[in-house]
């Protein structure tokens, strides 16, 4: 029987995936769980982030999540009680020694840069300890009905940096000549108001999509501009405009449950020595909008990877 008493897992993000990951790890009996998230709770989180309720809006996600799970006094696999420690901060401020204190790291972040930071730290830890210390990094991501789970054994299998090429390209961007001279879609109109009209009108104030007066101004001007060009302005609802300016990604509880479960199942396999880095696929993609599809494969290391390539 595997002894889990010294196991400590760091969870990155306490959002849609994070809540699921924390719940699963607790039910798996991981004695020591740490969670970091710099965000506070918003109303639109509550259709999936089940560790929070309306009374928690404005509070730290990490703190509320930890309090919720600690309050349940869930028995850990080593006979103690599951303990969650929260960090309400930017994770890129963690130092390497702190990161090196964990058995493994599970990420449910939406930020690519934060993942790259952690990945770099972990590869360096493997390198500096001459492969003695190797902290697996499991990365989950979800969007609408789709998601992925990557299992990274730093220094041994493809690192996060090796797989950057698999990321979808950033949100649609439109040529300036289109949005300035020949807008055709409602998106073109919003983009112009946001990137040209706003800085012209408010040179000293950065646009903030969370402030109603800012949004109202964008919506009003977008409708004006749409009419000017004979573009159907009924599409410019508040939801639509907010979706474009904040680049909102649809999100639903069930997809997060599936993707987080895949990540935590990797944790089980790693902790109970069921995972063979030589043969286990390290990359799973999931899609649930047309039937249900999960596919796993091995993403090879990039020989010239800037982060882990030097190890070879």
């Amino acid at each position: 029987m595997t002894d889990l008493s010294n196991v400590s897992v760091l969870v990155l993000g306490a959002g849609g995936l994070g809540c699921e990951i924390l719940k699963n790890l607790a039910m798996q009996g991981i004695p020591s769980i740490h969670v970091v998230d710099m965000d506070t709770i918003e109303l639109t989180n509550l259709n999936r982030q089940f560790l929070f309720s309306e009374a928690d809006i404005g509070k730290s996600k990490a703190h509320v999540a930890a309090e919720f799970i600690n309050g349940k006094r869930i028995p850990a696999a080593d006979g103690t009680v599951v303990r969650v420690t929260p960090y309400f901060q930017d994770l890129t401020l963690f130092d390497k020694r702190f990161i090196a204190s964990f058995t493994l790291i599970v990420s449910g972040l939406d930020s690519i840069e934060a993942r790259r930071f952690v990945n770099t730290q972990l590869v360096q830890i493997t390198l500096e300890t001459k492969y003695e210390k190797c902290i697996p990094f499991i990365d989950g991501g979800s969007e609408g009905w789709k998601g992925h789970c990557k299992t990274i054994i730093p220094g041994f299998t493809a690192c996060y940096e090796c797989s950057l090429g698999t990321l979808p390209s950033k949100a649609e961007s439109y040529p300036l000549c289109t949005i300035a001279n020949s807008p055709r879609l409602p998106e073109h109109v919003i983009e112009y108001v946001l990137t040209v009209q706003w800085p012209r009108e408010f040179p000293d104030q950065e646009f903030d999509g969370d402030q109603d007066p800012h949004l109202n101004w964008i919506i009003e001007r977008s409708i004006q501009r749409a009419r000017l060009f004979g573009i159907d302005d009924t599409a410019l609802t508040r939801e639509f405009v907010v979706g474009v300016v904040k680049n909102i990604i649809p999100s639903v509880a069930s997809t997060n449950a599936v993707v987080a479960a895949q990540c935590c199942n990797e944790v089980t396999k790693l902790l109970y020595n069921i995972y063979d880095p030589e043969s286990s696929p390290n990359f799973v993609v999931y899609n649930g909008d047309d039937g249900c599809f999960s596919y796993s494969f091995t993403h090879e290391r990039l020989p010239d990877c800037l982060i882990c390539g030097v190890l070879q």
């Binding site: 029987m1 039910m27 999936r48 004979g230 909102i248 639903v252 987080a260 649930g288």
Partner: protein, 459 residues
């Protein structure tokens, strides 16, 4: 902002309404059942009946109170299994969906004999799990939301107004800078030139023609619309009168739809669509969706083009509605509009007809050449886990569970993620089934958590 904003972007208010109003029954009180309930309460499903097997089983993360805060408007009625009451089909009629997670054979035996509404049955065993969609009827989907679609532009056979518009551009005027012309016009004119020369119409011939037009472009303009036209040249040869396979299948199965509710509506709409396609009006073309992709062009040219497509789409809906009206069943205009916009992407799946697996199911599977051996074993284990426990066994099992030492319990802890995963898929399929949006699994989905592989099987 709405609490449900992030999911309304997937299934809209219509889907949300159906989900909120749906009456859902969950049979079984295991962790799997609790996780399914959580995953359905979160997006706003509000009417639940949970049938318990009388005996308390494994430890759960979600107790009554913590579940209710996920959706304070929800009603969760918990009732004990009662064979007398539940062997009667009238008990089940009131539900829109039944999710079965129980492994009690006595209950499953009763359920397999009674007429159930659309149901899902699921189970996990160690690192594997399955979800099965059960219904005696085909399941139709109007809004399948395909990720990628080919626009229906009718370049090959434009209707009169479109033809007139496409021919109104004159590319022979050398002094003219045609960088404001949308690609559909360019492709159409290239097609005309190829035809005029008497050359066979092919994608390559049209591309070649467009490349030739690039030589005419004034220096200083990018000719970006010409590059775009070349990229989309294949749209010229799209056979818009060919009924897509997914729609053919809908036509084939429409008579098996029950004559009530959504299915009756779909049945009438599909029958009307058949009549529509056979009419002189349609010229074998499906109703136009009315939406066109963005194309590099001036605002004015794009708006004019868009207006033409929308006007034609409205005319098609009008004619289609006149056929629907003959059925004497009232179908709201919004439903007809949605149907007409989606005719190219209508889908149907055939769920499993019975709750139990046929005895020879795994045998048949193992005889299929490409069936992985681990899949056969895995499915056999899953079926045994869900169906092969006699009540005497389960009593014994409960006793051992009561006495079980902490080692046994921590052993089972490691499989919790697979329970959570199968509950996620069961909830996702529930939402797709209840909203009639997106396409549910066709019959049985099997997951292997060791290899992270999955299969969809017709068993």
């Amino acid at each position: 902002m709405d609490k449900y904003d992030r999911q309304l972007r997937l299934w809209d208010r219509r889907g949300q309404e159906l989900l909120t109003e749906a009456r859902i029954c969950i049979v079984g009180q295991s962790s799997l059942g609790q996780e399914v309930l959580k995953n359905l309460l979160l997006p706003g499903a509000s009417n639940f009946t949970v049938i318990t097997e009388k005996m308390q089983s494994d430890q759960s993360f979600f107790e009554g109170g913590s579940l209710m805060r996920l959706n304070p408007r929800a009603s969760i009625e918990t009732v004990c299994w009662d064979t007398n009451q539940m062997a009667n089909k009238h008990f089940w009629e009131k539900f829109d969906l039944v999710v079965i997670v129980t492994t009690y054979f006595k209950i499953l035996e009763v359920l397999s004999k009674v007429k159930l509404p659309r149901s899902l049955i699921c189970c996990t065993h160690e690192f594997s799990g399955y979800v099965r969609f059960i219904s005696p009827h085909p399941h139709f989907v109007i809004e399948s939301h395909p990720q990628h679609t080919t626009p229906d532009l009718r370049i090959m056979n434009p209707w009169t107004e479109l033809k007139y518009y496409l021919e109104s551009f004159d590319f022979t005027l050398e002094e003219d800078d045609f960088s404001d012309v949308p690609y559909i016009v360019i492709i159409y004119q290239a097609l005309l030139s190829v035809k005029k020369r008497g050359d066979p119409v092919s994608r390559d011939a049209i591309k070649e023609e467009i490349r030739g037009m690039r030589a005419l472009v004034h220096e200083g303009t990018t000719g970006a619309n010409l590059y775009e036209a070349e990229r989309f040249a294949h749209l010229a040869t799209a056979q818009s009168e060919k009924v897509p396979d997914n729609l053919v299948r809908c036509f084939e199965l429409l008579d098996q739809a029950p004559e009530n509710g959504f299915d009756q509506t779909v049945q009438i709409l599909l029958k009307s669509l058949k009549i529509y396609l056979g009419s002189d009006y349609s010229d074998k073309q499906l109703p136009l969706s009315g939406s066109i992709p963005d194309m590099i062009s001036s605002t004015e040219n794009y708006n004019n083009l868009k207006d033409l497509y929308q006007k034609k789409a409205k005319e098609d809906v009008k004619y289609f509605s006149s056929i629907v009206a003959k059925s004497r069943v009232h179908i709201p205009d919004t439903v007809i509009n949605t149907f007409c916009k989606n005719t190219k992407n209508l889908r149907v799946v055939l769920p499993s007809r019975s709750l139990c697996f046929r005895p020879q199911a795994t045998q048949i599977l193992s005889q299929q050449q490409d069936a992985p051996t681990d899949l056969v074993k895995l499915l056999t284990d899953l079926i045994n886990k869900q169906f092969k426990i006699s009540d005497a066994d389960s009593k014994n099992k409960m006793d051992t569970e009561k006495q079980s030492n902490s080692e046994m319990k921590s052993e089972s802890k490691k499989f919790y993620p697979v329970i959570s995963l199968i509950a996620g898929i069961a909830a996702q399929e529930s939402i797709k089934i209840l909203t009639h949006q997106f396409v549910p699994i066709e019959n049985t989905f099997v997951y292997n958590g060791i290899s992270n592989q999955s299969w969809t099987l017709k068993l």
